[in-house]
């Protein structure tokens, strides 16, 4: 992710320090691995509180992959409480068809369902790189910005106020991913740019 930001000419720091998170102009919140383990690390370091404060203050925040799951209220992965920045739940894929392998790993189409500055310039059929066994499910349908189909139709991009979060890896999704990352970097954190 830092390499992709650098490629776009954007300076970034990787930090475990909640003070740096509080002062940041914008925050990218990527993540892979286990939701319960990630939440524990965030709590131990006081980063959960720092993220909540940054969110409340209007700092533009981008969650990616696991970062799009733990912004919800809770996760089925470890049955845990998460950050609750977007009300909702993170669910596990359950398929009876063995052809639908879990995790979903590879390129899949993402279809925008609500206009948002983050999705500017995104065509109807563009593909992004996914690696995941769980997916975000916000309570409010208005929080779903784009969808993807893999056995079921699930939210691939969610957002609320100054937060957007993608289940796929922007930084591994070629020019389409870089476009969304550029959109995020230019975004002022309001749902509509006017």
């Amino acid at each position: 992710m830092q390499r992709a930001l650098k490629f776009l000419g954007v300076e970034s720091v990787i930090t475990p320090d909640p003070e740096v998170v509080r002062r940041a102009e914008r925050i990218v919140f990527p993540g892979v691995g286990n939701a319960a383990a990630a939440m524990e690390v965030l709590r131990e370091r006081g980063l959960n509180q720092a993220l909540r404060e940054a969110f409340a203050r209007g700092t533009p925040i981008l969650g990616i992959c696991l970062g799009s799951q733990i912004v919800l209220t809770r996760s089925e992965e470890g049955e845990i409480e998460c950050l609750n920045l977007i009300p909702g739940e993170c669910k596990r894929f359950v398929f009876s068809d063995p052809a639908l392998k879990i995790p979903q790993m590879g390129w899949n189409r993402v279809r925008p369902v609500r206009p948002h500055p983050f999705l500017d310039g995104l065509g109807a059929d563009e593909e992004f790189y996914f690696v995941h066994s769980y997916y975000p499910r916000p309570e409010d349908a208005n929080s779903v910005l784009a969808e993807c189909e893999y056995g079921i139709v699930f939210p691939a991009v969610i957002g609320r106020a100054n937060l957007v979060a993608a289940q796929f890896h922007l930084e591994k999704s070629g020019p389409a991913g870089l476009r969304l990352l550029r959109n995020f970097v230019a975004w002022n954190g309001t749902a509509r740019d006017s």
């Binding site: 390499r3 691995g33 899949n108 059929d125 893999y150 890896h169 020019p175």
Partner: protein, 258 residues
Amino acid sequence: MLSKRIIACLDVRDGNLAKSVKFVDTKEIGDPVETARRYYEAGIDELVFYDITASSDHRAILLDVVSAVAAQVFIPFSVGGGLRSVEDCSKVLLAGAEKVNVNTAAVQNPRLIADASRAFGAQCVVLSMDVLAVPPSPAVPSGYEIVTYGGRKRTGLDALAWARRGEELGAGELVVNSIDADGTQEGYEINLTRKIAEAVGIPVIASGGGGKAEHLYRVLTEGKADAALVASLLHYGITTVVELKKHLDQRGVKVRMI
């Protein structure tokens, strides 16, 4: 629905792009970083770099290649060749690779798969297997035997059993490379690929023998592969990523079009 992936394989020797025929007669054919960038811009879905550097003194060169690729190529790529420990794997991942590729070292020490899978996640660990067709025997009932050291050493392991074991140990994907088909450009080993794809629940990448778009079509449909590895086909300009995808798309195979 997931797209079928086309993955370009780049053999790297002492920092140069090389191409082998049946694992011998390697020759140098270009700059891997420049080639990777070109394929990326043409819409390749993924890249694999195999380090075939003979001398361990030159291994550090590979990490420079990985870093240079990661700075300008924003799709997943894996790195393999000579990774013997979790620490070796960690180095290439930190340099910017998305996945590691283990082969001979995993046969010698299957725990490497489990350890790497625990340390980095199964999605980061690709088990690459070189397979030779042999007469079926009690030890190798499928008639497909695992070989190591780039095909020079027979192991007595049945390829189907090894594929299942790899999945159990925590591999996230399998590369199935047919030694018989490698470098021939006469088509993938469809039967082998299908047997393995039916035996495991993780993605299978067919490797060895891709010589034209028709070959990719067959292995991605009849062969049930999730992805096809190509090398000579692109390196020698026989076809392009765009042409391959157009062919597959027209025949109803879902691929990522850009």
